[in-house]
Symmetry: C2
Subunit: 313 residues, 2 copies
Amino acid sequence: MKESKNQIDILLVGTGAVGSYFGGKLAQTTARVSALCRSDFDVVKSKGIKIESYKGDFDFKPAETVNNAQDYTGQPDYIMVCLKALPEVNLAEIIRPVMGADTAIVLVQNGIEIEAGIAKAFPKNEIISAIAFIAVSRIELGVARHTGSGMINLGNYPNGISPKTKKLADLFTEAEVPCKTFENIAASRWRKMIWNASFNPISVLGGGADSKQMVETPESVKLVRDIMNEVAAIAKSTGNEVPEEEIEKAITGNRKMRPFKTSMLVDYEAGRPMEIDAILGNAITIAKKNGIPTPYMESLYSLLKLHEVTQLS
Amino acid sequence: MKESKNQIDILLVGTGAVGSYFGGKLAQTTARVSALCRSDFDVVKSKGIKIESYKGDFDFKPAETVNNAQDYTGQPDYIMVCLKALPEVNLAEIIRPVMGADTAIVLVQNGIEIEAGIAKAFPKNEIISAIAFIAVSRIELGVARHTGSGMINLGNYPNGISPKTKKLADLFTEAEVPCKTFENIAASRWRKMIWNASFNPISVLGGGADSKQMVETPESVKLVRDIMNEVAAIAKSTGNEVPEEEIEKAITGNRKMRPFKTSMLVDYEAGRPMEIDAILGNAITIAKKNGIPTPYMESLYSLLKLHEVTQLS
């Protein structure tokens, strides 16, 4: 039996840009927030993380900084995962040493069907699916720059809103992070996919296009819209309607915002693996099962998979 | 009235890799072959062109080397155009100064519907449409390297085989260049499009994929086949059937050949404009007119057009 405790214990896994921001925000509340780092372990351990935010800079000094879960001395109520959703990352293996009976796994990740694997690995633990809306990038190890938005949506996987999810939402609210909870978080995930499945791949495949360039030429806008329509059709086939105006809103949104690089483009330019399956592959698989044609998404998917080959050569 | 003459006069326009090879071959016959050069004028004027061929090296010393048509002293029976088919190249303007009543224009160019513009500019002159099958690249100004094949197909635009076309075919044969003539050259052009419309764009958009990498991963082979099927459907809608086995032959062919870079990839890597419309845009326009869906080709077209934007930024 673990001792009862009042303070909520959160272990952040992954201190990239998104993890640094939301972890740093939660650390300003009554919660105890620690960090499991990889490449940035030394920097974070010695100096913590600096977040340069357009809403005001702040520092994030984790309660504990570890580079593997075995070293963690706390008992996490939440493990908040802010790693990219990549097939080569064995998340279950990373977090297994600190998993308790009551530990909830919070997945702050892009894409679709990214929860299934971890839910299967820990069938008795709560999975909280989280979708972040934020423009933030890591400019060097230990420093993140936050330039826009900063909201988060929560809901249990596959559905529902548990007391633990409500409590986490309260913490985000305490941290002044706009946070909504959803009975059906998948619908929110599909809505974000409208943006992710189009702009992320096109930015890479269009030769390093920024968010504005992709909505400038008629050919590119056509492709963006074709992809978004396919995503909406797949979402609908799973019972999650994406309102049609979301498509125009996404395009207009990019026109209005200051140009920025998508996360996939940032990964690509850094020679890091891209979230090809989370952002395209899984959705195409669902489309196939449900009989939805997706030639535009498949074209981008094939080209990105070819990049995996040419990146190595 | 120009004097009657026995020697056939050919003015080659464009001494890139393809022009160097076929021009150089024709120069070994009884014909008088001259060259209109651009970036390589100084080199070709002083040293001629060296062709390093897997079938034996040879030199091409043009009878006249000029850098604009006004300077040309001959009266060309044939103007053989080996320039890329790009919208920004005003071919009519380049060759107008040397066009005679009997001058035939030979277009050795990739793509579809590339003859229409020049046929309109010179409605009384013969247009000979030529399709080259050759692996050749310019390794420096004045030096071309020939690594595979070396055939050429000829036919009049829009159709037929004129005496002038026959005579040119005889010259190629004299030069030991395998040459066939076609009553309906468009069919041959569509056959080559199977290869061009797929491998050229995919090589660029796949991150610089060589001919072999494109037929290695299942995703890439799928995309190649999807594009080829679309091209075949468009061809069919214009009355030009492409035999189905051509598709498998093209894929198998790439698997067997030594890996090489497509011409579009070579252009892209050199920062030169790509033949996007000749190779994709024109065919998509025909598809639209004939009610053929082309989502895969449109995806690649949109991405290549976006490259035109990002290449400049």
